[in-house]
C-alpha cells in the first residue's frame, strides 16, 4: 500500500515535470523557433562584416533596412520644431505624460550633445553644439543588444524591414532590454499609462502596466503608406529623412552618400540605423 503510493507519487511528479518542460523542448527542437532565435538574415550580415574586417562597419546590403537621418543643421536654434515632432509622436502613439523623471515614458526626446553622443569629445565644442539639444530615439540597430537579452522574444528585429519591434502581449516586464540598450531608448510602464494620457488616438492602442515600450519607427503608419509621425510633423524643414538605407536610390541613401554623418555610440558594435548630421 505504502509502497504503491510512493510509486504513484514518483510517477506523478515525473509526469508533471515532463509536462512543464515539454513545451520548451518542443519549441527548441522545432526548426522555426531555432531559426527565429538565430535569424538567418542576421547571420549572413555578420558573416559579411567578418569577411572584411578592415572596412569598418561596411557590409553587403541585404533586404530592406529602414533608417532615419536627422539633419541637426536645420533644427539649431529651433527647439520648438523638435517639440513639435515629439508631440506628434506622443499623440499618435498614446504616450502618457509624467512630470517626474522616474516614471517618464519617451519614444523620441531631446537631450544635450554630451548625453546623446557620449563617446564624442565635448572639449571646446562649438556654440551650436553647446547650446542646442539633439533629437534622440531608438536606433533600430542591426545588432540590437535589447533583442539579444530578451528572454521571451517580446522584442525582436523584423527581418523584412529592420525595425526593432515590441510585442507587448508577450513582454514579462523583466526590463533586461533596458539594461541592454546603450541608448536609453526604452521606457517601462511603472503605473497604468491610461491615467496619464490626456487624449486618445482611437486608431492606436495604449500599453498596459508592467511592460516595456519604445519607438516602433511608426510601423503601423508605414503600413498605411504614411511617413513616421515625427518626420511628418516637421516635414517642411526637411530635417528628418526616412527610408531604406540598403536601397542606393532612396532619398536617405543619397543624403548619406553626400554628407558626413555620425551615429551614437558606434564603437559598441550595435550598428544603429539612425544617422545625424551635426
Amino acid at each position: 500500500m505504502d509502497n504503491q503510493r510512493r510509486k504513484f507519487l514518483k510517477m506523478a511528479g515525473a509526469t508533471a515535470l515532463a509536462g512543464i518542460s515539454a513545451p520548451a523542448v518542443v519549441k527548441l527542437t522545432a526548426s522555426p523557433a531555432l531559426a527565429s532565435s538565430a535569424p538567418a538574415g542576421h547571420g549572413a550580415a555578420t558573416q559579411d562584416s567578418h569577411a572584411q574586417p578592415a572596412a569598418h562597419g561596411e557590409e553587403a546590403p541585404k533586404g530592406v533596412r529602414l533608417g532615419l537621418l536627422i539633419d541637426m543643421r536645420k533644427l539649431y536654434g529651433k527647439p520648438e520644431l523638435m517639440d513639435k515632432a515629439i508631440a506628434a509622436c506622443n499623440k499618435v502613439h498614446n504616450i502618457p505624460h509624467y512630470d517626474d523623471r522616474k516614471n517618464e515614458i519617451k519614444w523620441i526626446w531631446k537631450t544635450p550633445f554630451e548625453n546623446a553622443f557620449v563617446d564624442q569629445s565635448v572639449y571646446h565644442s562649438s556654440k551650436e553644439t553647446k547650446e542646442n539639444d539633439f533629437l534622440v530615439l531608438c536606433n533600430h540597430c542591426d545588432e540590437p543588444p535589447c533583442v539579444r537579452v530578451c528572454p521571451t522574444k517580446a522584442t525582436f528585429r523584423d527581418e523584412k524591414n529592420g525595425i526593432v519591434a515590441m510585442d507587448y502581449h508577450r513582454c514579462i516586464g523583466c526590463r533586461f532590454c533596458m539594461m541592454g540598450c546603450p541608448y536609453g531608448a526604452r521606457s517601462f510602464n511603472w503605473f497604468d499609462p491610461r491615467d496619464n494620457i490626456k487624449e486618445y488616438n482611437p486608431k492606436f492602442p495604449t500599453r498596459m502596466r508592467g511592460v516595456v515600450e519604445k519607438c516602433n519607427f511608426c510601423g503601423e503608419r508605414l503600413a498605411e503608406g504614411l511617413e513616421p509621425a515625427c518626420l511628418e510633423a516637421i516635414k517642411e524643414t526637411g530635417a528628418i529623412v526616412f527610408g531604406d538605407i540598403n536601397d542606393p536610390n532612396s532619398e536617405i541613401s543619397q543624403v548619406l552618400a553626400k554628407e558626413h554623418t555620425i551615429q551614437r555610440n558606434s564603437s559598441l558594435g550595435t550598428k544603429p540605423s539612425v544617422f545625424y548630421i551635426v
Partner: protein
C-alpha cells in the same frame, strides 16, 4: 482502509463543498447570454457566426502574430470586403457595442481577456477625445 470513519465523511463533505456552486444555483446555468448584433446593421463577418463563436480568440491571436511579428499588415478580403487585421480597427468598427457584445459572453463564461488593457473600446476612445 485506515480511518474509514473519518475519511469517507470527509470525502463526502469535500465533494459537496467543491460542487457547491452547482447546488447554490439550483443546477441551472442561468440565462444564456444573447450578445447584441452590430448596431450598424452589418450581417457579414470574416467567418460564419458559429466559427467566430468558437474560434475568435484563435483568429485574434493569429492576426496579432501576423501583424506584429511577421509584418503581415495587409488586410484580409472576405466576400469582396477588406478587413484590416485588427481588433480595434476592424472588429470594433462593427461591434462597437463591446459592453453588450464581448462582455456579455465573457462575463457569463467568467473569462477576462486582457485585450482591453491596451486596446481601446469605442467608448473608451471617445472618453478622451481631442478637444480642439
Amino acid at each position: 482502509m485506515y480511518n474509514k470513519r473519518t475519511v469517507i465523511p470527509g470525502l463526502a463533505i469535500f465533494v459537496l463543498f467543491v460542487t457547491l456552486p452547482l447546488w447554490y444555483n439550483g443546477l441551472s446555468a442561468g440565462p444564456i447570454p444573447k450578445p447584441e448584433l452590430p448596431p450598424n446593421g452589418t450581417k457579414e463577418c470574416v467567418a460564419p457566426a458559429s466559427e467566430m463563436r468558437d474560434n475568435h480568440m484563435v483568429l485574434l491571436n493569429e492576426w496579432r502574430d501576423s501583424v506584429l511579428r511577421e509584418s503581415g499588415r495587409s488586410s484580409v478580403s472576405v466576400g469582396g470586403k477588406e478587413y484590416p487585421k485588427a481588433l480595434q480597427l476592424a472588429c470594433m468598427e462593427c461591434h462597437s457595442n463591446k459592453e453588450k457584445f464581448c462582455d456579455d459572453c465573457h462575463t457569463y463564461a467568467s473569462v477576462k481577456p486582457y485585450c482591453w488593457d491596451c486596446h481601446l473600446t469605442p467608448v473608451e476612445a471617445a472618453s478622451k477625445k481631442e478637444t480642439h
